[in-house]
């Protein structure tokens, strides 16, 4: 996994609440057996009409919005557990998703792919949308080490929470698999005592 420390970039606003993973990547694109190519189908049915023509007023089709930060409405990534949603956002070029709430499984999937979910307060989310509305070339700085997101022009900022373990993983580019494999001895010991534990519970 690639390391993540800080990022300063412009952002793409998507002011819709409860964006589910079926919108991020529709089920008909889940037939791939590798991780490549999901970017072109990101938000497919919001981005393109039936004939495959870009939908003009959809945010990803508006030239004034650029950058690797996606700022989305409350409860982003609800629904299906498909990690394809995180792969699609990553493949499209997003490195950070900001929202006032993330669904659990999506959040985990994003972190496991080096895509940083930044959860801000509803008030700060409004500030972020407002800043882009004022100037669509507004820059934002996401500082993982200090767990801070900042609007560059105004200097307004907010701290965000992240699991310390996950933070270490992202900063160093580690992933969970190596860590778990290093624990196999402890896992085998746990397996041996599992039956005893059940018997103890009956007492």
């Amino acid at each position: 996994m690639k390391k993540f420390t800080t990022l300063q970039d412009t952002a793409v606003p998507l002011e819709v609440e409860n964006i589910d993973t079926d919108q991020i990547i529709p089920a008909r694109f889940l037939k791939a057996t590798d991780k490549a190519g999901f970017g072109e189908n990101l938000f497919k049915d919001w981005r393109f009409d039936k004939e495959g023509k870009p939908v003009e007023d959809f945010t990803l089709n508006q030239d004034q919005y650029t950058g690797s930060i996606l700022i989305a409405g409350n409860n982003f990534g609800c629904g299906s557990s498909r990690e394809h949603a995180a792969w699609a956002l990553k493949a499209y070029g997003f490195k950070v998703v900001v929202s006032s709430y993330f669904a659990d499984i999506f959040k985990g999937n994003a972190l496991n792919n080096g895509l940083l979910p930044v959860q801000v307060s509803p008030e700060f989310l409004d500030e972020l949308f407002l800043a882009i509305r004022k100037d669509n070339k507004e820059s934002f700085k996401v500082d993982l080490k200090n767990q801070k997101i900042e609007i560059i022009s105004s200097g307004k900022s907010e701290n965000f929470a992240i699991d310390p373990y996950k933070k270490t993983c992202l900063i160093n580019g580690f992933d969970d698999i190596d860590f778990l494999v290093s624990k196999l001895d402890a896992i085998k010991k746990f397996e041996e005592k599992q039956t005893q534990m059940r018997e103890a519970a009956i007492q």
Binding site: L30, K31, G79, S81, G108, D176, V181, K183, R198
Partner: protein
Amino acid sequence: MKKTLFDKIWDAHVVESIPDGPDILYIDQHLIHEVTSPQAFNELKEREIPVFRPNKIVATADHNTPTENQHLPVKDLLSRKQLKELSQNCEENNITLYGLGHPYNGIVHVMAPELGITQPGKTMVCGDSHTSTHGAFGAIAFGIGTSQVTQVFASQCLLVEKPKRLRVNVNGDLKKGVTPKDVILYVISKLGTNSGTGYFCEYAGDVFENMSMEGRMTVCNMSIEMGARGGLIAPDQTTYDYVEGREFAPKGEEFDKLKAYWETLRTDDGAEFDQEYSFDAEDIEPMITYGTNPGMGIKITGAIPVEGGKSDAKALSYMGFKPGESLIDKPINYIFIGSCTNSRIEDFRMAASYIKGKKKAENVNALIVPGSRQVAAQIQEEGLDKVFEEAGFRLRQPGCSACLAMNDDKIPEGEYCVSTSNRNFEGRQGQGSRTILASPLTAAATAVAGKITDFTKSLN
């Protein structure tokens, strides 16, 4: 210390707790299917890591499989390739696969319980958010992403933060025509789609105690639709009776021993929850959804709320509905009875009992899709297939089907479908499709009337 049911199972599976970090949680049972496993197998191969405990994994093919002519090669080339990779991966790694055509094949959350793989006290995961279904047995079961599928392959464990505890109590007597699906749609309509985020939800109260295992599975299945990672119900005699005698359930002395352990799996009196809600069964009526998330539900005779945010306006515009509108008498051309929420034998008995002696309305296209080969066989055994046929319905072969429309079972653009599945997201049942979630009884009544109808008046 007083413990909740959830704590008891979770704590018994913690291999280690990382200071300031997640727990290493041991997984007793890993279920896999064709859509979310191929990239995990590839990752293992690339890293040269073997599957640690192949005997704790069971695979099925369900998401992209056709529901007609399953004996023929799968027409869709991408689906066929995905299914072939699943077979190869299972073979190479000594994993049991109940593939297309196998008597045990079916939707992962239908076949595992009916085979006795799902048991109280287990930790279970699958690369599918509706894994919460298995919580009906008093198990900790939740959906995971593909990176986590890889982790479980490699170590039979997951690194996860322990969720908080939530309890939803529903007490009282359910009215006639109110099914487990209505109960959970009601709860989600009251609490919203993210109220459960960060929580594991225990369902308690006599409504759940009096439910069959099928009903409990329907409820736990939709826990994820209020954002909860999983839902669970304390095991009781109903649970033990369901599990006993099934193919992979413990037998004889082993069953008795385990049952003694299962009986300890209940929330201690006075144990604390981080959040708790209570509802009265008498307030619940048959439910339908009117929007594009499962929280947008009303009683079937109700009106679409007038107060709503910007996202509600977007949803109503997609659905072609107006605030304040009632959906009674809305013509419906499609109904779907199936999915991991409602495709068990009891669901088809419920639908058939309403349909018997009636005819499907001319305008209605009905998809009736059993959850597994075993359910399909039981439908025949009980003669329900005749009831459906005589009423003008055609039964399909098992699979996820029109719940997520990965195969050919799609609802056309702009059409409404009264569906027993779990998600009414935009385009979920096919591009431009409009889903109205409901119970099998409501779907059956809609099919007969050709429109949404207050069928409770006609129930005896």
